[in-house]
Symmetry: C2
Amino acid sequence: MGKGLETRERILAIAEMSVLAKGFGATSIDEVIAEAGITKSGFFYHFKDKNELARAMLLRYVEANNRVFDDVFGRGRQLSDDPLQAFLIGLKLLAEVMADLPHGHPGCLIASVCYQERMFDREVRAIAVNSVQGWNVRFRATLDEIAAQHPPREAVDLDTVADMMSCIVDGGIIMSKLMADPRRLEHQVLAFRSFVKMLFSPSPAVPAGQVSAPATRVDSSHVDPHLL
Amino acid sequence: MGKGLETRERILAIAEMSVLAKGFGATSIDEVIAEAGITKSGFFYHFKDKNELARAMLLRYVEANNRVFDDVFGRGRQLSDDPLQAFLIGLKLLAEVMADLPHGHPGCLIASVCYQERMFDREVRAIAVNSVQGWNVRFRATLDEIAAQHPPREAVDLDTVADMMSCIVDGGIIMSKLMADPRRLEHQVLAFRSFVKMLFSPSPAVPAGQVSAPATRVDSSHVDPHLL
DNA sequence: GAAAACGCTGTACCTGCGGTACGGTTTTTG
DNA sequence: CAAAAACCGTACCGCAGGTACAGCGTTTTC
């Protein structure tokens, strides 16, 4: 990474923290540059105005989020051929990732943007909307796969279930932030997991042996405490 | 309502709209007073500073929210003696209330505060925390009642389920605001309702006749499309 | 019916921040 | 070594939050 990109990255990280703690409108450029150890001119060299900063922040955030999703649900698929099991494993891993954040989840930039829509131009809002839509279609596709093999017990719209994923995470972040209790987010993800499990599990009697042998090694963490 | 309280209420309503649309830090007093038709001095007569405005706004919001909860879940209890059915009816009514908002839910002030914590003093944050905790113990008590009669099918912590209610609503508000689609919030509440239903329903075979005869008349709206 | 409290208005002023402009300087890179 | 990249310094504008205080009409209270 060149020195320019490094500084840019530092600005974005600091600004994200500030935005999540105080809101975009209350985030002062002076504070950001002081913490980043640069001058105002330096800042405006990288971002022509605050909206460009917002755009870059959002893109950075969405990308990082996508990497996490790719990681946990990709691992889920590696660990089971059954789409339901794979998704449940992914959710378990996601809950673990959320729980392992040192000071709890810092906050969701999408939610922050949502609660300050008037502050941003169309492009920023479009980035937020597209990202969420992308996650929804992603999870919707997964749910379709699952439903093909496991007929859902309740007549619930799968788009709504896919949407629920984002809602639970965003709601869980708010609760864990507000209550200063990182575990709440973890619990919410696991509760959503229970919902999915119940929705696609045919009967109280549990059919065992659907989990294929793990092809990949799992790094130190035992994955199978509550798989079914 | 005295003239003073009337002006105060007008200020609070306008400020709430602005805060939900732009964030607290970006909400300008000049804009609020312009819309309220008063002067700056008039504003500072009612609120000594922005933090006092925030406190009053939050209290107003929480109170309104409590009224809605009291209303829908109170009606639920009127319509069924079974705690599960009463809760499910309440959730259905809540979803309807959410769907009937003319321009969608304007936003949750608690979430807004959460994403701008650094802007507020301890008291404001305490109000937010206490309100959410109040809702959680309320729903937890309801869930305890339900669980006493309907053993839950999954080993889920009831505190987490109670928490999930707030998460779903806050998450649903974010999604519906972001996507400009008020129905998403309604769907999320109904999805949570499905979760509760599944969690406390003993088996796929539905035992009928648990709904007691409604003692109260239902005002024009037919309550029983998807009760079980 | 006078006094006090209420509900504001008007003016003036200070501070800090977002943002612009622009010339100069150092650092990196081809 | 030269050019591009990555900044620094300074000076400035306008707006918003916030303070201070004097005053004024209306309503309430004794």
